[in-house]
């Protein structure tokens, strides 16, 4: 067991992935000498060289587009997008080329590319540094979209993402980067919890609280407060936003009859609606209340001095719980 931060775990996970497979390359802006603006790749260029940790020109479409070519050549590129808000220039290459290559070629070509990006708000920065673009990717067939919420998941999931033969959008909850936790770095990758499976973090009976990435900590905090009031919440970390692990969700909601989805992204068109719709279809007779959503609002991300009121917090989750229980 080692204590690592989420950031440190990603760094260690990347290192291990590069050691395991010489075809793994890292690409991105400022990931070399600087080690990335968050230092996720710190020390890797020094140890693996400039041909495996590649500082790129400042052009996101170019980064993803050349990563496609590298993958076609047989490499496993891991692309860093510096911030969530800067992924959009690469959107065309991601959703039109990366996501569809396997389908377009009926399996002849595949693109084992991992696209990492810090995402979510709460770091008090300027516009474009607090976004949650997950729904754009999760609604794109052909992409796997995952996110981690603790150092152990960060360490294992980044390795699973790199090892995946499908392209993976790997979302890193930036405001939790410095959250610490124990990681059993001696274990085998094969023994890790599957990347596309959700995890029940706390078992409960009254209501299922579905969260992922940065809202997991918030959800756990809310569940603890609810427990004090005698309400038992089952907390599920989604982990994979596409595909969704509906089996785990169904089992929980069949039992609790209630569900609340929490995410930072806007409500409309977000993951919460998709999860809610799926649960309505699979658990119709078991639902005692509609699936509720506690999310960012249907506005662009606000100036940072308002973000603590924009981001879902325990108060809002408990308020939703109250609503849910009142049905």
């Amino acid at each position: 067991m080692e204590e690592l931060t989420i950031l440190g775990a990603i760094n260690r996970g990347l290192r291990r992935a590069m050691e395991a497979d010489p075809k793994v390359l890292l690409m991105g802006e400022d990931i070399g000498k600087l080690g990335g603006v968050f230092r996720a790749t710190e020390g890797l260029q020094k140890d693996f060289g400039e041909d495996r940790v590649i500082d790129t020109p400042l052009a996101e479409s170019g980064i993803v587009g050349t990563a496609i070519g590298l993958a076609l050549y047989g490499f496993r590129p891991v692309v860093e997008i510096q911030f969530d808000g800067f992924v959009y220039p690469a959107f065309d290459q991601i959703v039109v080329q990366v996501a569809r290559m396997r389908y377009r070629t009926a399996g002849v070509l595949q693109l084992p590319i991992t696209i990492r990006m810090p995402y979510g708000g709460g770091i008090g920065s300027v516009e474009h540094h607090g976004e949650s673009p997950e729904a754009y990717f999760a609604s794109t067939p052909g992409l796997r979209v995952v996110t981690c919420a603790d150092p152990s998941d960060a360490y294992w999931m980044i390795q699973q993402a790199v090892a995946s033969d499908d392209p993976v959008i790997f979302l890193e909850p930036k405001r939790r980067y410095w959250q610490k936790g124990d990681v059993d770095t001696s274990a085998e990758l094969s023994s890790a919890h599957p990347m596309n499976g959700a995890k029940v973090l706390i078992e409960g009976t009254d209501c299922t609280l579905i969260c992922y990435g940065p809202t997991v900590a918030t959800a756990l905090q809310a569940a603890a407060l609810a427990a004090k009031d005698g309400v038992s919440m089952e907390v599920i970390n989604l982990r994979s936003l596409s595909p969704l692990d509906l089996t785990t969700l169904n089992n929980s909601v069949m039992k609790t009859g209630r569900a609340i989805v929490v995410h930072e992204a806007s409500s409309s068109g977000g993951i919460g609606g998709e999860v809610g719709q799926c649960l309505m279809q699979s658990c119709f007779y078991h639902l005692k209340a509609p699936v509720l959503r506690v999310t960012g609002y249907d506005t662009p991300y606000p100036p940072s001095r308002n973000e603590n009121k924009y981001l879902p917090d325990a108060d809002r989750i408990l308020d939703a719980l109250e609503q849910s229980m009142s049905y």
């Binding site: 052009a59 170019g62 590298l70 377009r104």
Partner: protein, 364 residues
């Protein structure tokens, strides 16, 4: 400036070999005869496909008519180990990479999204998204570099990559980013731009007021402007650029000045935006005709050989017609394959659902 000023040319419009201070060609006459055969068959292929579209066998076709020299000249400059990325119009490149024309049609018929095995032919399938593949080509070339298959001095092992695109594509951000990356890493990639004077209805000057080849210098690579209807010159400049790439001297931009003699695609009606004058001018620059004259004067292309090639063309057309009509429709259930490396629960449920419905309605 006149669009034909300062073009690299080795065979003029009248089929006379001309000298160029910068380039020369040492191709023997057998090879040139081969180019001639390629071009004739490519034109036949193109005309047959256009006809098949009119007969409703294909949903669409993008004619290569008039661009035979640019495509055959550059395509024949590739070595087996090179890799190419092309657009919907480069049937001539597919031809030089050994793709069966019958296979080419499957994409246009709506049977598949990609007509051939990209790795087998070392040619990525028809790219529809303008410019997107220039970045793939650059990344692929970077891969050859990182793999150590560039500049080793082994002429049969060193690899180069070539990306084909049009004059309109020069305006897309992706293409310019490809120039940036290729130059930054000195990647072994050749950017071959067929300036066929039109991007659907827009003339090249809507994209740029200066020759496209001039774009290269500012990105830090050489730019070459060649007569795109001169198969010998196109071959020579491409060979040289590919050699530079393979030997580790970095990227090159080639602008082949040619003309889209036909419609943009079979859905297009050029009379809406261009008059016949240009067509007439360019007919005098026909890429096949000038080589025919040259080879005939040299007695390399005899009536007998010409008749052979004509016969070959006829049977190719016949093979295409049959192959196209016989090609089976895709299995509806194949729609659900290959979204991910492993089966996905959602998708499998959808497959089962539609299968049941189609069965119930007797549609399958």
């Amino acid at each position: 400036m006149d669009q034909f000023d300062d073009l690299i040319q080795l065979l003029d419009c009248n089929g006379v070999a001309v000298a160029d201070p910068r380039y020369s060609s040492t191709l023997d006459e057998e090879t040139l005869l081969g180019f001639y055969r390629d071009m004739v068959l490519l034109r036949q292929l193109d005309m047959q496909a256009t006809a098949l579209q009119r007969q409703g066998e294909l949903s669409l076709w993008a004619p290569s008519l008039g661009q035979e020299a640019a495509q055959i000249g550059s395509g024949r400059a590739l070595k087996a180990q090179d890799y190419a990325f092309a657009t919907y119009r480069e049937h001539g490149i597919a031809w030089t990479r050994g793709v069966d024309p019958v296979k080419m049609l499957r994409f246009w018929r709506g049977t598949v999204h990609q007509s051939w095995d990209a790795n087998y032919h070392r040619l990525y399938g028809y790219q529809i998204i303008i410019g997107a593949h220039t970045l793939h080509a650059t990344g692929y070339a970077m891969g050859a570099q990182y793999a150590g298959h560039v500049g080793t001095g082994n002429a049969d092992k060193d690899e180069a990559v070539i990306a084909f695109f049009g004059d309109g594509a020069m305006s897309e951000g992706d293409v310019n980013e490809a120039f940036v990356f290729a130059a930054a890493y000195q990647a072994p990639v050749v950017f071959f731009c067929q300036n066929n004077q039109w991007a659907i209805s827009e003339p090249t000057k809507r994209q740029s007021r200066v020759p496209l080849s001039r774009r290269a210098d500012g990105f830090g690579m050489p730019g070459v402007r060649v007569d795109g209807n001169d198969v010998i010159a196109c071959h020579a400049v491409t060979m040289e650029a590919l050699d530079r790439a393979r030997s580790g001297q970095g990227p090159t931009l080639i602008e082949a000045v040619t003309y889209r003699m036909g419609a943009h695609t079979t859905s297009d009606d050029p009379t809406k935006y261009r008059d016949g004058a240009d067509d007439d001018l360019w007919r005098t620059r026909d890429p096949i005709e000038r080589l025919r004259i040259y080879l005939t004067n040299k007695n390399v292309l005899t009536d007998v050989i010409a008749a052979d090639i004509a016969r070959e063309a006829t049977s190719l057309a016949e093979r295409m017609r049959e192959g196209c009509r016989q090609s089976a429709d895709p299995d509806p259930m194949a729609m659900f394959d290959h979204v991910y490396a492993s089966p996905d629960a959602r998708i499998e449920a959808q497959r089962a659902e539609i299968q049941e419905i189609l069965a119930k309605e007797g549609r399958i």
